[in-house]
Symmetry: C2
Subunit: 331 residues, 2 copies
Amino acid sequence: MDARDARWLGASLALAERGVGRTSPNPSVGCVIVANGRVVGRGWTQPGGRPHAEAVALAAAGDAARGATAYVTLEPCAHISTRGPACSDLLIAAGVARVVTSGIDPDPRTAGAGVARLRAAGIVVDVAAPALAAAAERVNPGFFTRHRHGRAHITLKLAVSLDGCIALADGTSRWITGAAARRHAHLERARCDLIIVGGGTLTADDPALDVRLDGLEDRAPQRAVLSATLEAIPAEARIGDARLLRDLSDLDADPRILAVLVEGGAGVATSLLTADRVDRLLIYRAPIIIGGRRGIGDLCLTDLGSAHGRWRLAAALTLGFDRVEEYDRVR
Amino acid sequence: MDARDARWLGASLALAERGVGRTSPNPSVGCVIVANGRVVGRGWTQPGGRPHAEAVALAAAGDAARGATAYVTLEPCAHISTRGPACSDLLIAAGVARVVTSGIDPDPRTAGAGVARLRAAGIVVDVAAPALAAAAERVNPGFFTRHRHGRAHITLKLAVSLDGCIALADGTSRWITGAAARRHAHLERARCDLIIVGGGTLTADDPALDVRLDGLEDRAPQRAVLSATLEAIPAEARIGDARLLRDLSDLDADPRILAVLVEGGAGVATSLLTADRVDRLLIYRAPIIIGGRRGIGDLCLTDLGSAHGRWRLAAALTLGFDRVEEYDRVR
């Protein structure tokens, strides 16, 4: 693999982003097919999970795929489904000379078998270095967490002031952040499978939890209320189709739920952090001082050293006057 | 003024930085003298405030100053002191053809008189645009605040976690940030005239409030304890030479105190913010979640809209795993 390969893999990663939020329980994968330095086909996982990225790209490339290199953000699958053939078989049949992939599929039905099958057919297969694999995994964190740990991947979203507050002392929280940050947060909703709020937030804020972005209005994910005391939530406050959860166990048991976005409030955030169930922090921070209600309650830490080394900054972006930072839990 | 002028003014600003913290009640000024595109002299305000930057730069340039351009980060002074001649007279005597300055001196003894005297002598004087003036003012915020508002300039320093905490629930605060951030904070001490802590921080942490940086050990500024209840501070907890303050009024009355750094704790921070006496926030933020003791208490805001538009991000820097952000109060 050289720098040119890394660039093409980056292009396929950008394509993979297009399917995020519409492919669960499948991952969203991107693929570009390159012949003589030119793209002859590209594809990404289609809504519902099929066709796969490789099938789309190969169909676009046609005969031009013969002798070409396919860049794929996940190991081509080795399992035949009623919904389509195995991508490794498709790549072999198309006469591709080389496959470059970001990493190995954690799905036990493939898990290296795709690469083995390609190599057995005489195709050169390069698997990217860990840094590129990590970038690819960040596109489908729920998929990797589900297969590696048997549970849902949880992002905790916070919209905070510089002093870590999420509301005035009286509970007012509209608005901490500006319009650009709020739009970004709506896009995050469209990328997940389920949104969770606590009972208190549901009752106090009556949030719609939908995706209010032009062209994405139909992308609102499932919603759920997480509350130790569900019966305390007034019936009229409940979002029509929301799931009611006393804890996360039935979400973890549901293989269709990969990526979960937790939107508050402080009670839910505190209990998930205490249970070490937050995999990613999504922090929108506004340049204001509130001195009001904090976003995270008492975690009862007794050792400051233990707080360090747990979170790694993965991305940061300026949005108007605000800044969004993403931190991944180091595991 | 063109882009080349702005670049030379930037170079003189970098020289001005060298004197910061050692010139009060004078500002720290930088000067470069340029002839035919080459620097023939440079200087910055010397410890104690004299000689001035222009005097140093002119002495270095000698005859080469004749017909040259002098770039100065503040209007050359027009007042003759027992400690030295007026810089505008020195520039005229040296035969400088042109003076470019960042802005007008707020000191009433000059306040435009320097520019007028230079122009009367036939020297071309250009005063920089507001953006460059603002950059120059940020080098000496205490000097400008003192002359414009008759009071000290206050920086509130906070070392916080992502959730805005400054300590565990039990008060442990060593360490939130890493070594690089703490060294940066020590450098900030060397840049101010006085450090303030609250009585609680003094009693609990017994902070040395010195400058523990190689070569800068002698740069510890004056120290003060700000507490509404001074008698509650045990005598043995008091830092030897620290001033004891019940409020800020005697600091504001002392013309030698320009820049003040407040290092905590939450009580002092909250009261200064409530009184709108914080001119600059210096926030060191570590990528950790603490869920402990907050850095800022209840500000009793009743209108979230009023929290917006008060703070402007002026600078940000990554220091190891931490990030430091500087916000100026928009006035």
